[in-house]
């Protein structure tokens, strides 16, 4: 199992383009995050957990679906770590697995309302499903 997590972590590091070793553990990402109140695992922990190959916990984390991709953590990180890229990489790794699509087409009609822009639907599909 450890080896599986290690391989996943390597993939996540590669496709995110993030060098987790650059993190100096200042916590500015967590300080910045506008969705932090909804997160079970803080952005700064994503960085150290990917670094330490603790992927299982991240894959089942609720935070994957709470990140707003607002890039505030990317902008303000003093070390250029880009935590949002890392959360995204874990998220795509998760949704690429079988039965991990979070948003299903059949559920869409109930979510629609008159004003909801296409942009919201397309974004959500891209973020929540493969």
């Amino acid at each position: 199992m450890l080896q599986k997590q290690q391989l996943q972590a390597e993939t996540i590091r590669r496709i995110s383009g993030v060098n987790t070793r650059k993190c100096m553990k200042c916590g500015k990402c967590t300080a910045t995050c506008p969705a932090h109140s909804e997160m079970d695992i803080s952005p700064h922990r994503f960085v150290s957990m990917v670094e330490n190959n603790e992927i299982d916990a991240l894959m089942s984390s609720d935070s994957l679906w709470k990140c707003l991709s607002c890039f505030a953590c990317v902008e303000r990180c003093p070390r250029g770590v880009e935590p949002a890229n890392l959360i995204e990489a874990v998220r795509v790794t998760a949704v690429r697995m079988q039965n991990r699509n979070r948003l299903l087409p059949e559920n869409i009609p109930s979510l629609l309302n008159n004003k909801l822009p296409q942009q919201a639907l397309v974004s959500a599909f891209r973020k929540y499903s493969k």
Partner: protein, 262 residues
């Protein structure tokens, strides 16, 4: 001057006001917007994972078409601008993505990020100039106090977007001044509205939108403007009604057309 224009899906449907007024104002200001033929949805979110190739293709198609037309590519929706500009940057700087995309599309001439992506606001600022707009203002919004709501996608990450100071932007404020109104600077104008999260978590978006509107109201704004249909939706749908009546939100192009009296 003529630009290739990429409107994007939402501007054809729920955000028609953003589009219509942009076109009429541009025409009035002597700018020709040629809508790109056969454009496809940009995907609304930038694919951050480097191994996502398919989700980059629609942007590259638009970019390559614009390159072939020999024009700059003008965008209006914040999300489209964000995605297309960042994919363009990938095509300029990431060899692996560039190779894979070109291999897949096999275009006549490989695309290497040659096109310049320009946001409508940048066109107003750099091509027309805010001074010209001020002079052309038929119905200036004198006395109006307007808050600019930037959101995230236009500004961040600054390294790629290079749009404005990401923490203290000024382009919309300068635009507001050009319309004869007074810009209201409030600290949450570059904080997220919740984005696509509102599809499954209205509460978070409501919390964010509340912070934004309360902050704008406290700084005496009587209107907000935005360039993003999703920001518009969230601020409209997820703001409590009391704040909403005090603080209408409109697309910046609507105000522009109004001031130019089109």
């Amino acid at each position: 001057m003529t630009f290739d224009y990429y409107p994007g899906c939402t501007l054809k449907t729920k955000a028609k006001e953003l589009d219509i007024h942009a076109r009429s104002a541009a025409e009035a200001l002597g700018i020709k917007l040629e809508e790109l033929t056969d454009w496809q949805c940009c995907g609304a979110v930038y694919p951050m994972a480097k191994d996502e190739i398919a989700t980059r293709l629609s942007s590259v198609r638009a970019l390559a078409a614009s390159r072939d037309n020999g024009r700059d590519l003008l965008t209006l929706c914040s999300a489209c601008h964000h995605v297309i500009k960042r994919v363009n940057n990938d095509m300029q700087t990431d060899e692996e993505i560039r190779t894979k995309v070109n291999n897949y599309m096999s275009p006549e001439t490989e695309y290497h990020g040659e096109t310049k992506v320009v946001h409508y606001l940048e066109m107003l600022r750099d091509t027309i100039g805010f001074d010209t707009i001020r002079q052309r203002a038929v119905k200036p919004l004198t006395g109006k106090k307007i808050g600019a709501y930037y959101g995230c996608l236009l500004l961040r990450p600054n390294k790629v977007m290079a749009f404005d100071n990401p923490e203290n932007p000024t382009v919309l404020e300068d635009f507001i001044r050009a319309l004869g109104a007074e810009p209201v600077i409030y600290p949450y104008r570059n904080e997220c509205c919740g984005g696509y999260i509102s599809l499954e978590n209205n509460e978070l978006s409501a919390k964010k939108c509340d912070q934004i509107t309360v902050s704008a109201l406290e700084n005496k704004a009587d209107m907000l403007i935005t360039a993003c249909p999703l920001c518009m939706y969230n601020l409209d749908a997820n703001t409590n009604s009391e704040h909403k009546t005090k603080l209408p939100i409109v697309y910046f192009t609507e105000l522009l057309a109004q001031v130019l009296d089109i």
